[in-house]
């Protein structure tokens, strides 16, 4: 069984991700998976995180298999092979 995590890239970030809609990485937590992603596409790092830090940009939400990581363990949320990690901009509504 594969330990691949599939990361869904939203349109505004695709230019920094080689124009990919999805990127496959490995990692045992959300933080590790995002680390692998930004290592592969360094320009993404500055978009996803505040400068130099581990603090997530407040207008970006991360979902593991459709659950917001703020309801899980944030960047420490564990991942297993086959999990899907979505990057989604915060959206207004009503």
């Amino acid at each position: 069984m594969s330990d691949t995590i599939t990361i869904q890239i939203p349109t505004p970030l695709r230019p920094q991700a080689g124009d990919n809609a999805t990127v496959d990485v490995t990692g045992s937590t959300v933080g590790e998976a995002l680390g692998a992603l930004t290592q592969q596409f360094p320009e993404l790092g500055g978009r996803l995180f505040k400068e130099g830090g581990n603090e997530v940009n407040r207008f970006i939400n991360f979902y593991v298999n459709d659950e917001d990581i703020r309801f899980l363990e944030n960047l420490d949320t564990p991942l297993k092979g086959g999990d899907e990690l979505s990057i989604v901009p915060a959206i207004a509504g009503g």
Partner: protein, 421 residues
């Protein structure tokens, strides 16, 4: 001619052209329409506005459309009710209800934002429009799109009230019910907007859509005789309307149309979905999302996209927030109906219940002008009120039976005193 200058990111200030756009490319911050206020000076006046149509389009110069309005010709300009009976009951001096339960054509504040969004969708050449909705937005998008001949998809949580389902289906949209809460629907919609070339009004038309919410504030100011309430209580769901009412007040101040009385803004949320109010009470800048659990489904958004700005505006304006339990929401619906003859949905009950709390806490002083923003209509959510009234008597069509009944009612009335808060 329009006074629109550009779209700018609220965070980093990056500028974009007037185009469908969800967020800033740099930091995912919301983008907002920027205007050339200098050019408006002396041109956008009380007189120019008063000479406009009897709809929200009287504020067209302050809205982001390039050509003529394409829908919403009767939207906005809803009643501002001077609520003297409710004021007496609450022990406050000057109280207004801004009553968007009477908005045209779908009886909620959403007819404002949708008038701008659909006009913009037509300007951009879209043939399909859609939205993520808790109900009211779906009604409005479906109605305005039907009247404009556009194809419509509305995405909603699967468990909406029956009245809300009928109220959108009648206009003939494709209704997609999604397992999950509004935040799940919204997330899917942002992905749909990415994939399909559709105008999702609260996603890729969001910068234009949200500007429509300003008209709620413009009208309050104009209808109060070109002055501002000192305290404005607004329901908070996704967080669109509160910062935009504030922006409306600030624009009128900047243009010299009203005096700056330092208007304070107050957030109202249901206790079962109160991420913004919790953040205000805890004194933090960022809210923690919640899983909503309240009868006020139209404002059950646990992950408000503009929550950060709501918190900021409340702090900057010197306001505060409150949350109301479901039972308090129901009581407030009945109080507004009993004193002012206005039947609002649970979101409106929430707003009034929170206004009452803020007055009782002394956060809102009793001797200064207060405006409570009612954004939706109670006839859409009849379920929440069912079973809350005493059984209605049935009599034969005989005068004698009627006389007996009236006598009984009068005896009951003298025995019991009216309920007070």
């Amino acid at each position: 001619m329009s006074f629109v200058h550009a779209l700018t990111c609220k965070e980093c200030g990056a500028e974009y052209g007037i185009e469908p756009r969800t967020v800033c490319d740099n930091d995912f911050g919301p983008v907002e329409v920027a205007y050339d206020y200098d050019a408006m000076q002396g041109t956008v006046t009380r007189e120019s506005i008063e000479a406009g149509p009897a709809s929200l389009w009287r504020y067209k110069d302050l809205l982001p459309i390039e050509g003529e309005p394409r829908t919403g010709f009767n939207s906005g300009l809803t009643p501002l009710v001077k609520a003297d009976r409710l004021a007496a009951e609450l022990g406050v001096k000057e109280l207004y209800i801004k009553d968007d339960s009477a908005n045209h054509p779908t009886f909620s504040y959403k007819d404002r934002v949708v008038s701008i969004a659909i006009t913009k969708a037509i300007e951009f050449g879209f043939d399909t429009v859609g939205c993520a909705s808790t109900g009211n937005l779906a009604h409005s998008v479906a109605a305005h799109a039907a009247a404009s001949g556009l194809r419509t998809f509305v995405m909603i949580p699967h468990d909406l009230e029956e009245g809300k389902m009928v109220g959108m289906s009648v206009f003939g949209p494709r209704v997609v019910r999604i397992k999950g809460n509004y935040d799940d629907v919204n997330r899917l919609c942002s992905q749909i907007a990415d994939k399909y070339n559709w105008a999702i009004v609260n996603v890729n038309l969001r910068p234009f859509y949200t500007e429509g919410a300003k008209t709620h504030g413009f009208e309050i100011a104009e209808q109060m005789g070109w002055r501002l309430p000192r305290h404005t209580v607004v329901p908070v769901a996704g967080g669109t309307i509160l910062p935009k009412v504030w922006k409306a007040y600030q624009e009128f101040i900047q243009l010299g149309l009203v005096e700056d009385n330092k208007p304070a803004m107050y957030a109202a949320q249901a206790e079962g979905c109160s991420p913004v109010v919790k953040a205000i009470e805890e004194g933090v800048d960022l809210f923690h999302p919640q899983k909503p659990n309240t009868i006020a489904k139209s404002i059950a958004i646990g992950n408000p996209a503009d929550g950060y700005y709501v918190i900021k505006v409340i702090r900057d304006s010197g306001g505060w927030g409150a949350s109301a339990e479901d039972s308090e929401i129901i009581e407030a619906i009945q109080l507004l109906a009993r004193t002012e003859g206005i039947f609002t949905e649970p979101a409106g009950g929430t707003t009034l219940a929170c206004a009452i709390k803020l007055i009782q806490q002394g956060r809102i002083p009793r001797d200064e002008p207060i405006c409570v923003c009612i954004t939706g209509n109670g006839l859409k959510t009849l379920e929440v009120m069912q079973g809350r009234f005493t059984e209605t008597p049935v009599i034969n069509a005989k005068m004698g039976e009627f006389d007996t009944l009236v006598k009984q009612i009068e005896e009951q009335t003298t025995e019991s005193t009216p309920q007070t808060v």
